[in-house]
Amino acid sequence: MTHNVDERPALVAKGNGATRLIGTLITVAIAIIVVGGSAWLLHVNQPQPGAKVAQPAGTMKTPQGDLPHYSLDLSIYPSNNTDPACNGGTQSGEAIPGPVTGFDQIIAQSCPPFYWDSSTLQLPAHSAITVTVHQYDGSTQVNANYFANVHGTIDGKATYNGEAKTGINPADVAHTFTIHQYPQAGQPYFFVSVPMLAQPSTAKPAANSNYPAPIDVVFTFVTGDPGSYVWNCEDPCGNAYQGFGGVMMQRGWMAGTVEVV
């Protein structure tokens, strides 16, 4: 015996052409709202730190002539010192929480190093920029020795606690500051890479702080026409394969953007 498991009521197709048209348009509109709304929500929920603008500092004599001079002050901390699990004891000295937006919470649990206080940098065009980095972290060997040398600065050198050098020992690199290309045709080519000298393994925390006395790395480079660039650290201070996972792939921590305006 044929047994119809699901009886269907004998309905005539409901709705005339106009109903169908309205239904179609409403469905398309809903789809557009869902997609557009999701795109917007996802876009605003991936914040990168607010832009850090280089500060004016007079003019400077360069091989390209007299250029306006700006300065930028950054620090590299080995870990967040407000989390007891990361600072190994009580927090002393200035509170440096590290970037804590979104997915970064999971990264923060592994107490990684980070650039502070922002990874979104804004530099003026056609200027000489002097960057001072206060480096508090220890070393990991670079993957490519190329990044143990200084590239792209105004005299090919950087100063480490006052001493000018063209490069450092690959085993003593803590991090690098490497700005490189955004693929826009017509924007000037721009490449700067400076290795950061590591704290020696015997360094002790300074008084009233969780970190040792910083090593100050100072270097100057010249910007050209306006353009968009990215920067990242080229020293494997993250986790996973070759140390390039985790923070190395995270904007706000060890990577960011540079806007030359």
């Binding site: 269907r8 169908r20 239904g23 394969y241």
Partner: protein, 652 residues
């Protein structure tokens, strides 16, 4: 009682199993909701207990946070096991262990008898129910993949800024890719292979009904781990998740790996089911030269999937092992090989594209005969085409690796084999064109899909010829040209064929006629928008745009704007088509048993299809292509044949 008078039925009486409890037993209480709840509960318990047991800070030699990775992996596995337990998948083995065999009433319950609409929410073995479940799942996966595609194109269209961070963008393209690939693998073999194929061969169900349900619910269990990757940092790698880049991704990658491992089981089980059904359950009289060509296509895809899917599964198992156990299968610094991963992946990766395209082609060839009212042109060439493609698909995979430097001299033999496979594929095109030749088309949506698909196949095919040449690939590999090529093949020839096939079998599966006006509008909007989107993408690739990039040179701006506009229109077209499907399904015109006047067996049973499919199993006496009238030009042929005879015998 003397021997003479003993009843034959008594002699042959087989002891029946005893009925334990109500028919269906434990399965009376399980459904998708109990499955999800059990899965979630088990996952949460595993996570809670595990996070107490495992120290978070544990790192291995490559600073991998082993503890956390293992915890997440255990949570995903707990979800899968919990879900399968909650849906009742373990009831069968447990009953077997306890010695409680299924009675006829149990089997009927499991096939959904007497449950009305609820049987779609349960572990139902009826192939028609599983087919519908696969159809819904496919639509959901396409919706998710399409949603991600819209976001991807938004990023690429807004060329003056980064809309999403590079990491999220890389995760989106990877997730879009794998979701679409999974959806395309199952789109025809799942709904139609399960629902239609047994009907088409005159069987009452598939060879392994309980495995049928298992393969669907394993797929269902595999999808949440995959989708959850976006919440756990993303896979940050393309759908191919090349190692060692994959090992740098956060824990979301484990979701991908678990999904593929489980999905491979699902596919293997489904393939075994399809193959066994096709080989052993054909109706009486359906010899191999009377089998509908659709069955041959499904069979080819199932064989390829069964043989090669384990390669993909192994690659993910080994990658998971690298991640959690610090093995170095793919870590070259510790003696591993990145090329090992690429080979394992592409050993599936290539046959997989044929798994996607062959069923669609077979479905279109099948329905062409109905809409042209012509027999299939050269059935033997069609078989040769499917067999040839299935065979040669195993020896072409290195053409995805021409540029890796793995084996430069391998370029020669694999270029040869890649060109060779175009010949059996050409047989299938010959069959389609030959069937179309001198046929009068009934231009309903399924037939119009054939025209669209052949056009897309032509474009995809010629661009494939370019890519198969190693020197040309030296320019094109890793550029948007490749992306456009495979979208033309997988989406243009695969998805549009699936739309045609679903439109064709819609009346039989749902009991309603599809609203063809709206469905056609959606289809054609999507088709022409598809041309705009991917032709512009070819241009971007030719201009030198690499793939998997979210920001690019200004030179590629115009192509990307055009592609994005096209993509939005594809989305609109697909939404319109979806609207047609849903509204027709809910209250379309009830369909007669055979609205197309087709001769294959599935149309010879009533709609809706009864539980046992056929009141009486059919006996087949000819192939299902007895359409058409004698060729009027045959009389001319006759005259010429007569004229060949010596003088005196003929009239000339």
């Amino acid at each position: 009682m003397s021997v003479m008078t003993r009843d034959i039925h008594e002699q042959a009486a087989v002891p029946q199993p005893t009925q334990h409890g109500k028919p269906g037993g434990f399965l009376r209480h399980t459904n998708i909701f109990t499955g999800v709840i059990t899965g979630l509960v088990l996952a949460i318990i595993t996570y809670a207990i595990g996070s107490k047991l495992v120290p978070w800070g544990t790192q291995n030699a490559t600073f991998q946070q082993v503890g956390y990775q293992a915890l997440i992996a255990a949570t995903y596995v707990a979800w899968v096991i919990g879900f399968m337990a909650g849906i009742g998948a373990f009831a069968g083995p447990i009953r077997w262990v306890l010695g409680h065999d299924l009675t006829h009433a149990d089997a009927e319950y499991m096939a959904g008898k007497g449950q009305g609409k609820f049987r779609y929410w349960k572990y139902t073995t009826d192939h028609k129910v599983v087919g519908i479940q696969y159809l819904i799942m496919t639509l959901v996966l396409f919706g998710l993949g399409g949603f991600l595609a819209m976001l991807i194109r938004t990023e690429l269209g807004i060329t003056w800024a980064e809309v999403f961070t590079p990491n999220f963008y890389n995760s989106m393209i990877g997730t879009h890719g794998i979701v679409m690939i999974i959806a395309m693998i199952i789109v025809i073999s799942g709904p139609l292979g399960n629902f239609i194929m047994p009907l088409m061969i005159g069987a009452r169900d598939m060879a392994f009904p309980r495995l049928n349900a298992l393969s669907f619910w394993l797929l269902f269990a595999a999808v949440p781990p995959l989708v959850s990757n976006l919440l756990l940092g993303g896979i940050r790698d393309g759908w191919t998740v090349y190692e060692p880049l994959g090992s740098q991704s956060p824990v979301g990658m484990i979701g991908y790996q678990i999904c593929i491992i489980v999905f491979a089981f699902s596919t293997g089980i489904a393939s075994v089911n399809l193959i066994t059904t096709a080989f052993t359950m054909r109706a009486r009289g359906m010899s191999w030269n009377r089998v509908p060509i659709f069955v041959v296509g499904i069979l080819s895809a199932a064989i390829m999937g069964l043989v090669w899917f384990p390669m993909f599964q192994y690659s993910q198992i080994l990658a998971l092992s690298d991640r959690m156990l610090a093995t170095s299968f793919f870590n070259p610094l510790m003696g591993g090989s990145v090329w090992l991963y690429e080979n394992l992946f592409w050993l599936l990766g290539h046959p997989e594209v044929y798994v996607v395209i062959i069923p669609g082609t077979a479905a279109l060839i099948e329905l062409m005969t109905v809409f042209l009212r012509k027999p299939l042109f050269s059935y033997k060439m069609a078989i040769a085409g499917f067999v040839g493609v299935t065979g040669i698909s195993s020896i072409v995979w290195v053409h995805h690796m021409y540029m890796t430097g793995w084996a430069p001299s391998a370029g020669y033999p694999f270029m040869l084999s890649t060109e060779l496979i175009s010949i059996p594929f050409g047989f299938l095109v010959l069959v389609m064109l030959g069937t179309m030749w001198r046929g009068k088309p009934w231009t309903r949506l399924p037939m119009m899909a054939v025209y669209a698909v052949i056009w897309n196949k032509i474009i995809g095919g010629i661009t494939g010829v370019y890519l198969s040449d190693v020197p040309v690939d030296q320019y094109m590999h890793g550029s948007m040209f490749v992306v456009a090529h495979f979208h033309f093949m997988l989406m243009g020839a695969g998805l549009f064929a699936a739309i045609g096939a679903i439109a064709y079998w819609f009346p039989k599966m749902t009991g309603r006629m599809l609203n063809e006006r709206i469905a056609s509008i959606g289809f054609w909007v999507a088709f022409f928008a598809f041309q705009l989107t991917f032709m512009s993408m070819f241009v971007a690739g030719l201009q030198g745009m690499p793939r998997r990039v979210l920001q690019f040179d200004n030179a590629f701006n115009v192509s990307n704007w055009l592609s994005t506009i096209g993509a939005y229109c594809i989305g609109i077209g697909m939404v319109i088509f979806l609207f047609a499907v849903i509204t027709s399904w809910r209250n379309g015109k009830p369909a007669p048993a055979n609205p197309w006047g087709a001769k294959t067996l599935e149309w010879q049973t009533s709609t809706p299809v009864p539980l046992e499919n056929f009141p009486v199993l059919p006996v087949v006496t000819s192939d299902p292509y007895g359409y058409g009238v004698p060729d009027p030009y045959d009389s001319v042929e006759k005259k010429m044949a007569e004229a060949d005879q010596p003088v005196g015998a003929g009239a000339r």
